[in-house]
């Protein structure tokens, strides 16, 4: 036993484990220090948790787009962050128009539905076009080719939107009905946050339901398992792929509106960072796995929000919140090292790679 162990473990493994252990000890030590210092009240911890959740659910919704496409096509659609940007960056003009004619806050629910519909429609259309123009001709090309195409498409879309709508950020007007907080017991939850979390979770449940319990969902899963066999069984693979991209586009468009409800400002590069984070979330949960995307997104949001204040400030790092993006990407690196298949992912077999 020991002998076999000695043969499989290399020096690199030991170094990597040592680094992992050091970080683990740092995190635990930092957390203990912070909690002992008692800088934050219980209410503030709850606030941070809510902030983490709302970001996490948005990441999860975007991550679904990465994960669905990966499940079917075995490719990372790096242009997904631009699909996410296109919806809200278009819908902001509708929102501003509705606000200027006074419709926006008189019929807020209808307005919200209208801008969400527009955003989802734009994102979905773009996703379908992208698949048709950029990815379909490359379906049988080596795996690296569509990946590079996706990166190119990402830049192309970013600068197309910059050309169309300009450099400057646009601002979503505020909904009056989303001001203020819900008092849930002793905990004040900002109405916007509550709406974002609920809407994102509902949206994900719907998507999960489609994938698990509908006929087209069944077709998606079978194409994901084996494209050729699925085609032989009479499944229209093209249709399934288009449907997958549509689902991803819709979830990105909705996520974009939820994101805009929180941060208000939209611009042509707004997709970049959330896109990367969502990709991290998808990898964290296990890319190709729908539940994994949700789990990864939620965990990432919570870690980002709680992490700097919990373990970094406890380690005496000044201005710790500056490092929240660093936390997200450190996690990505360590997942790729220790558990490349992600938390819920199955080990990718040789045939699939």
């Amino acid at each position: 036993m020991l002998k076999r162990w000695r043969q499989t473990v290399t020096a690199t493994d030991l170094v990597v484990w040592a680094i992992g252990l050091a970080i683990g000890v740092g995190v635990i030590y930092g957390s203990i220090q912070t909690i002992r210092a008692g800088q934050y009240t219980a209410e503030q911890w709850i606030n941070l948790t809510i902030d983490g959740l709302k970001l996490g659910e948005i990441y999860a919704l975007i991550a679904l787009g990465y994960t669905l496409v990966y499940g079917i096509m075995r490719m990372i659609n790096f242009a997904h962050s631009e699909i996410f940007m296109s919806g809200p960056f278009t819908a902001v003009f509708l929102a501003k128009y509705l606000n200027s004619i006074g419709f926006y806050n008189t019929y807020p629910i209808i307005s919200l539905l209208l801008i969400t519909l527009l955003s989802a429609a734009v994102s979905a259309t773009l996703a379908i076009l992208l698949e048709r123009i950029a990815y379909r001709p490359l379906r049988f090309a080596p795996r690296l080719v569509p990946l590079i195409t996706a990166i190119g498409a990402s830049f192309f879309l970013q600068y197309t939107f910059r050309g169309m709508y300009g450099n400057d950020p646009e601002t979503y007007p505020t909904f009056d009905f989303l001001k203020g907080v819900f008092q849930i017991g002793p905990i004040p939850v900002p109405k916007t946050d509550a709406l974002v979390i609920v809407a994102a979770v509902v949206m994900m449940l719907v998507l999960y339901g489609i994938v698990q319990y509908t006929k087209i969902g069944k077709a998606m899963r079978s194409v994901s398992e084996d494209k050729e066999t699925a085609a032989l069984m009479g499944i229209n693979v093209d249709r399934v792929i288009v449907f997958t991209f549509t689902l991803g586009g819709i979830s990105a468009g909705v996520a974009g509106i939820l994101y805009s409800l929180i941060f208000h400002q939209v611009n042509f590069y707004m997709g970049f960072i959330p896109g990367l984070k969502a990709f991290t979330a998808a990898v964290l949960g296990g890319i190709g796995n729908v539940v994994g995307a949700w789990l990864g997104g939620t965990l990432l949001g919570l870690l980002e929000s709680l992490g700097p204040n919990l373990f970094l400030s406890g380690l005496g790092i000044p201005a710790a919140n500056q490092l929240k993006d660093a936390i997200a990407f450190t996690i990505l690196v360590f997942i790729l090292i220790f558990r490349p298949q992600g938390l819920l992912g199955e080990r990718i077999s040789k045939e699939k790679v």
Partner: protein, 408 residues
């Protein structure tokens, strides 16, 4: 054989004498770091390096407009030569400064650079420009170290008409302490040298006055989610948050600060980097009551109201969109004035030479220059400002904000 050699030597000698004679007829550059030669019909090239795209575009565009009015006032000419006025985007970042710096430094026709907009950009661009021999004068760099004698970021050839932040940060602290009666404050910077030094000056002055700094936090310039940093700040229960950063992150801090439990009614204060209509547009109703410190336009010379503002309106169709237009106007006039003084040769549009060191010397020797922003006199390290700082308060949908301090 020796005859041939003698003849060829003679020819060489003759040729050499001829060359020397020719050089004598034209101008000879005696400047220690070289000259810019401007032939008859050639333009005098002055370049800008300002932020003209992205979220801080109003800052640079406004300064560029100000300098352009100075060119316009001169009829577009200096000493009978056209003024060639073009430039690069400094993007308000070190990366942008590197790109603009390299590009401009490679152009030997450039006499002077007006810029940059942001201190972070200047920090990387200035070493390049300094060794290229340019005279550089900025209308809006306010970071302290740029004109600090002996500092690694102070380079020969650099001047500014903007105030140093040692003045602005101290004024902001005084305002918070005296006018608002605030005892506890927190600061946030975005990692730019401008913001980092400004909040440090504020913190030092505020502590000296007897106040307490509860936290000195940082965000990144394009960060959107501020909840972590704001909750962390809320745990110290400050009465004022000083965030002298730029538009994009600044707007998010204002918006989210108003929603963070414990910070809903805390004063928020920025600096001149946030004096922009984009802050008003972006923050919507949350902008109500946000303070910014900035140069005091009401203390500007009479020419500002009488001539400059109408010219700006006429040429660009709006009120000034930021705060450093007058500083840029003064900067351009100082450069043009010194070019007139130091140029050698034909001063009516013919061939002339502009000594690079001579131009720098002339700029540093500026004394009691009557500009829009006051009486400018330059220190040996390039501080030319006549700093007058005021504090303004934003109201929803109103730009420019209202001046509230000092009361006079």
């Amino acid at each position: 054989m020796s005859k041939k050699l003698f003849v060829s030597l003679f020819v060489l000698l003759l040729g050499g004498m001829l060359l020397v004679a020719c050089a004598g007829q034209t101008l000879e550059c005696t400047d220690s770091i070289g000259c810019v030669e401007v032939k008859a019909g050639d333009p005098v090239h002055i370049a800008y390096a300002m932020v003209i795209s992205g979220p801080d575009a109003t800052l640079g565009t406004d300064s560029r407009n100000g300098a352009e009015i100075a060119v316009f006032d001169k009829g577009g000419k200096v000493l009978g030569h056209d003024i060639k006025w073009d430039g690069e985007d400094d993007q308000c970042s070190a990366e942008g400064g590197q790109a603009a710096g390299t590009k401009l430094a490679a152009d030997p026709t450039i006499v002077a650079v007006i810029g940059t907009s942001c201190s972070s950009a200047l920090r990387v661009a200035m070493p390049l420009w300094s060794s290229a021999g340019f005279t550089v004068i900025s209308a809006s760099n306010t970071a302290v170290d740029l004109t600090l004698a002996g500092n690694e970021n102070n380079h020969p050839g650099y001047l500014r008409t903007a105030h140093s932040d040692s003045v602005q940060g101290a004024a902001a602290a005084k305002f918070a302490w005296e006018k608002l009666g605030v005892k506890k404050a927190a600061t946030i910077h975005d990692g730019s040298i401008y913001a980092e030094q400004l909040q440090q000056v504020f913190a030092d002055t505020f502590t000296e006055l007897g106040g307490e700094i509860t936290a000195q936090e940082a965000v990144s310039p394009d960060q959107t989610d501020m909840s972590g940093v704001l909750t962390s700040i809320a745990s110290g229960a400050p009465e004022l948050i000083y965030h002298p950063i730029f538009v994009q992150a600044g707007v998010q801090l204002i918006l989210q600060g108003r929603q963070t439990p414990g910070l809903e009614n805390v004063y928020q204060m920025g600096a001149d980097g946030m004096f922009s209509p984009d802050v008003m547009d972006g923050a919507g109703e949350a902008v109500e009551g946000v303070f910014v410190s900035s140069p005091d336009t009401s203390k500007f010379g009479p020419d500002y109201e009488a001539n400059f503002l109408p010219a700006y309106m006429a040429k660009f169709g709006s009120e000034p969109i930021s705060i450093f237009h007058a500083h840029a106007y003064d900067a351009m006039n100082m450069v043009l004035g010194c070019i007139e003084k130091v140029a050698q040769g034909d001063k009516e549009g013919g061939d002339m030479l502009i000594g690079r060191q001579a131009l720098r010397d002339c700029m540093y020797a500026t004394k009691d220059f009557t500009g829009l922003t006051g009486n400018l006199s330059c220190t040996p390290t390039g501080d030319c400002a006549d700093p007058k700082i005021a504090v303004y308060e934003y109201n929803t949908g109103q730009f420019p904000p209202t001046k509230i301090w000092p009361e006079d």
